[in-house]
Symmetry: C2
Subunit: 387 residues, 2 copies
């Protein structure tokens, strides 16, 4: 990646560091290394407030360049900083919500004279929540590739398939369009393969996570998604795979049907589309996320689908979420979230309904906040497509 | 999962807890929850030394049963323990090498009167390193499914394919045989999609991780594996996908060739097979891991392939690794590792060589340690198969 882009990102972090009197950051978790160094390595990006960043690298051992220094273990850091003519920091931030406790303590102990603070994760995630122009361009390309894969879904469906078999063919389409496969998530607990294909009542199986749709999955070691059931006439199927094409987690759901669905399903689907258009009409920089959420609830209440909106027995507590290098970034479009949209934010909006005996309906697209509104990144037909 | 199996596993952990004077464990990381509760949930398994375990669960909200108690936040734990008539622990262990620093500190602060220790990760991983009979049976089934997928590889190859296209077809075969897809790894840094398909010189591209074979990958955000190159006559291709069929990470590599390879490739491949048989002859409970490693090096030195063994520019520092719910468990077969094999351990043995301009050769199988030797779990032909 070009240095001016990396410098832009590092400076976004530095602005936030300066506000908190932090004079250096030590960055070592993958998503943050991709953000600040442009690639995953094993090592540490040391980001001083007032000097160029240094990469202290363990592996790959062959990576060389200006400001790249080889390291075997973190205990060498103080000496290596001295060799780089960098002072020991007064207040150093670490990635306290990502580094395991043991590793955090080890890094902390390398800087006995320094005030070490754990706010690195929160602060870098805040910087990452407003994308650079290049990041928005990566998302545009991801949206196009994601769409191209989904458009081929009807061509891989065969009557008599299970939800799992359909899922596998869609995974293959995504991979052939360039999807990297990895579903990058913030936080230690959420494990997802490439996303989910959910049909019929399986969609209502509650998840261990805060999802509208769960799914039983194939094994208790990986709950969520297809459970191997035959796709039946009268069922809806929602495809919701993560579109990680260039490191950026594009998010998009579309609904298919096995034959025709009962009228209620089309009405519920339309209600979700109406939520989307209502939000797209008012969303722009400065609007608080809670207002968008409240508008969704109001629209759904009027349509009479409140009982089935965002899950049945266990309901998701949001209708949209920021996306970026990870699938769950800021902002979250949820009740009581006062955070306002800003130009450059990218988020997924996913009003969804699960109807008993039929299955999931609704929509999910990825959107970028522009200077005066929001723009859709995942453009393909939104009606229920009969397979 | 049946309670007697879960009790067996919990008791293996309790024995180690007792040795360190620990009277309770709080378990919340996914692999450890699968091990001790049989499924992934969002919540906490509280394991007292001298009373039945309790599950304090956040989600799925519908899960009910004996000793299952609903919880919203960890600060409720002391009161909920009291309601269960369980005492506040004197010495409580947390998963200190997996829990993020922030979460660890939050849990620690819920028990102000307790000595909280971070050794939970190390101790549970020690318990997990020797598998139960049921776990070995899961591995046997995984080995059979893994083999069945690999046997179909020649049928999906088409001349003119790229390494990526072949990888995608093999991923599909694995999924159709039941592979869950998720590649579960211990530690925060290692990110892998389903495994790797490596051809020609791409195999020698150094990895950010301690791997014999790296690969450039498709994007700097996910180094490793196929890079989209055309498969060329005279190249070898190594398929090394993770076989997570029932939660257990079976590991297996096989080598294919595009047309015939130079004689050197077959000789190098045979040298790796010889390492495998030398080790299979002597490995049994009581043998230190370093002896197996030294035997491998001796065998390879005699064959004259030392320069290319386990990588070229950047060499892996092991020839085998324990496997289980995660791909990297104990024991590690590496220099200076005094740990001895025990009956019930399961490990992958992977002597591999990367030959310039040709590509990777060698073998990887998963093995279980029996009472008097080791037994192969991944049984399919080991010669280089011409595509």
């Amino acid at each position: 990646m070009l240095l001016p882009e990396l410098k832009l990102r590092r400076d976004k972090i530095r602005v936030l560091m300066a506000q908190q009197g932090i004079d250096a950051a030590l960055i070592t978790c993958n998503a943050n290394l991709i953000y600040t160094f442009g690639q995953v390595v094993s090592g540490y990006l040391y980001l001083p407030l007032n000097a160029p960043a240094r990469l202290f690298i363990k592996r790959p051992s062959t990576l060389e360049g200006e400001h790249i220094v080889s390291i075997r273990k973190p205990e060498q850091l103080p000496d290596l900083l001295k060799e780089c003519e960098l002072p020991v920091p007064h207040k150093l931030m670490l990635e306290g919500d990502e580094l395991p406790y043991g590793e955090y303590k080890r890094l902390e102990s390398c800087f006995p004279e320094t005030e070490v603070v754990p706010c690195g994760t929160a602060l870098i995630r805040q910087a990452r929540s407003v994308k650079t122009e290049m990041e928005v361009e990566m998302f545009r390309r991801s949206g196009i590739a994601h769409t191209k894969a989904y458009e081929q879904i009807p061509s891989v469906y065969k009557a008599g398939m299970t939800d799992l078999q359909l899922s596998i063919e869609v995974e293959r389409l995504m991979r052939l369009e360039g999807c990297l496969g990895i579903f990058r998530v913030f936080g230690r607990s959420m494990e997802i393969f490439m996303g989910s294909v959910l049909a019929g009542d399986n969609a209502a199986t509650p998840s261990p996570y805060d999802f509208a749709l769960g799914g039983k999955g194939l094994d208790p070691s990986l709950p969520g998604g297809a459970n191997g059931s035959l796709l039946q006439p009268g069922q809806s199927v929602m495809v919701d795979l993560g579109g990680n094409f260039y490191g950026y987690m594009c998010d998009m759901s579309r609904v298919f049907s096995i034959g025709k669905l009962p009228d209620e399903a089309y009405a519920a689907h339309q209600a979700c589309l109406n939520v989307q258009s209502a939000i797209a009409t008012v969303a722009k920089p400065g609007i608080p996320c809670e207002e968008l959420y409240d508008l969704a609830i109001e629209t759904i209440d009027k349509a009479g689908f409140a009982d089935y909106f965002m899950g049945v027995e266990q309901k998701a507590k949001f209708i949209g979420h920021g996306i970026g290098l990870e699938i769950n970034e800021a902002p979250v479009i949820a009740p009581r979230i006062k955070q306002e949209l800003e130009a450059g934010m990218v988020f997924a909006l996913e009003p969804k309904i699960v109807l008993p005996t039929i299955g999931p309906v609704g929509i999910e697209n990825s959107w970028v906040v522009t200077t005066d509104g929001i723009e859709k990144l995942t453009n393909c037909p939104e009606e229920i497509v009969e397979l």
